[in-house]
Amino acid sequence: MRPFTYLSAPDVTTALRAIATEPGARLLAGGTNLVDLMRQDVERPTTVVDISTLPLDEVQELPAGGLRIGALVRNSRLAAHPAVRSRYPVLSQAVLSGASGQLRNMATVGGNLLQRTRCPYFADGTAACNKRDPGSGCAAIGGFHRGSAVLGTSEHCIATHPSDMAVALVALDAVVEVQSLRGTRRIPLAELHVLPGDTPDVETALDPDELVTAVELPALPVAASSRYRKVRDRASFAFALVSVAAAMEVADGTVTAARLALGGVAARPWRAHLAERALVGAPATEEDFRRAATAELATAVGRPQNAFKIELARRTVVATLHQLTTEGGAA
């Protein structure tokens, strides 16, 4: 690991000042992704700003009925929170499906959102990667790409966003609160991550001087009936091949409300608006679920090793929605 200056930020303003004035600064929270990438020489911060002791670790009720989740709430605490388990079970399930117990005890909500792709070429300093080294090319296209994305990709990058938590959050209309010395702004989570286009190294809508301080969930009655389903190569401690976050309400056999998002298949946590539109007002049958999934996946681009993800995603959507209609949500 390269040497760096370590700064433990005693308050938010100190952290904001550090990232506003030091171009090579990186924020350190749980460390589960940043420290790993520093050891692999992918991240090379000159200053590490430790924000892990800032008072951003509360889960609070919002006046309008939603939840405000501090950016430094640990993943395991978020998953176990009674309000999350009862009102947003899909979120609890998604968090628990990711990483291992040790890592969930360390990883934070903000860090989870901003984690980097696990595309093997991104972490391999000898390989071409437009994310790590703009202009160098994409070794995954034409290389090993079984885990790569089929939605939202470009000819410059086919990496997936690896988070499970963010897939649930984007389905739940989460909003990210961001602070800088210039003030506070709120970004819908659906707009936090940007598609690779011809600048895969630009991953979010954040400016370099901004700090994620909280994630807010709106009151969302449909979320009480929600589930997260993750398909992966082994039963635990593996990233998703395909995952589905779904919430749905059905009355008299007709879908009256639906929230759907896909993970493991896209360049960012993928809100499935097209599928939602097809679902609402349609009968709650497997045939209609399949039609909705097909609408969402119409623009998917499969490659030799990952084309299977398109049909797998379709089937996983159908299975998840079917389970919601027969068994309801669960935490």
Binding site: F4, S8, G31, T32, D50, G101, Q102, M106
Partner: protein
């Protein structure tokens, strides 16, 4: 920096620590506690599992600066000097130790699982044991005996005071 933290109940002060080195390095190389093992250094294998403020974490990913003022518990602190913790006894009796490199991390992770289950007045189901130990890799692949050991430890600790 001068790092001050509590390790296994004792206050430790160590001088000339670089904030960016890992807690694992501090424990092993500066405090003489080599029980926690250094293997993957990327949070995959769990051989460096320690308690940090009461929850298991990978010490290889904790910066020394982040341990300032906090409470650390290592495998050396599970039992008193010359004694074995019920989880350690169970691992020995079940034959859950082969090369032994993953054992310290597994002992801490198992201790955490059994304590949490006991606090809820129950024993962990097999699926729960597998999930709880998913972050601890055994390259001898002796997992069946490890599962036996966890069940044995859970049975023995069920009757103890919480």
């Amino acid at each position: 920096m001068r790092l001050t933290c509590t390790v296994n109940g004792d206050r430790h002060e160590v001088d000339d620590v670089w904030e960016g080195e890992s807690l694992l390095y501090v424990l092993r190389e500066r405090m003489g506690l080599p029980g926690s093992k250094n293997a993957c250094e990327q949070g995959e294998c769990g051989s460096c599992t320690v308690y940090l403020d009461g929850v298991p974490v990978c010490a290889c990913l904790v910066a020394a600066g982040q341990a300032q003022g906090r409470e650390v518990g290592t495998v050396e602190g599970l039992a008193g000097p010359g004694e074995l913790h019920p989880v350690q006894e169970a691992f020995l009796e079940a034959g859950a130790v082969q090369c032994g490199f993953c054992t310290p991390g597994l002992l801490v992770a198992t201790d955490d699982l059994v304590r949490r289950s006991r606090a809820e007045g129950r024993r962990p189901a097999d699926a729960e044991i597998r999930e709880a130990l998913a972050g601890n890799l055994c390259r001898c692949t002796g997992y069946e005996k490890i599962l036996d050991a966890v069940r044995l430890a859970a049975d023995r600790m069920a009757g103890e005071a919480r």
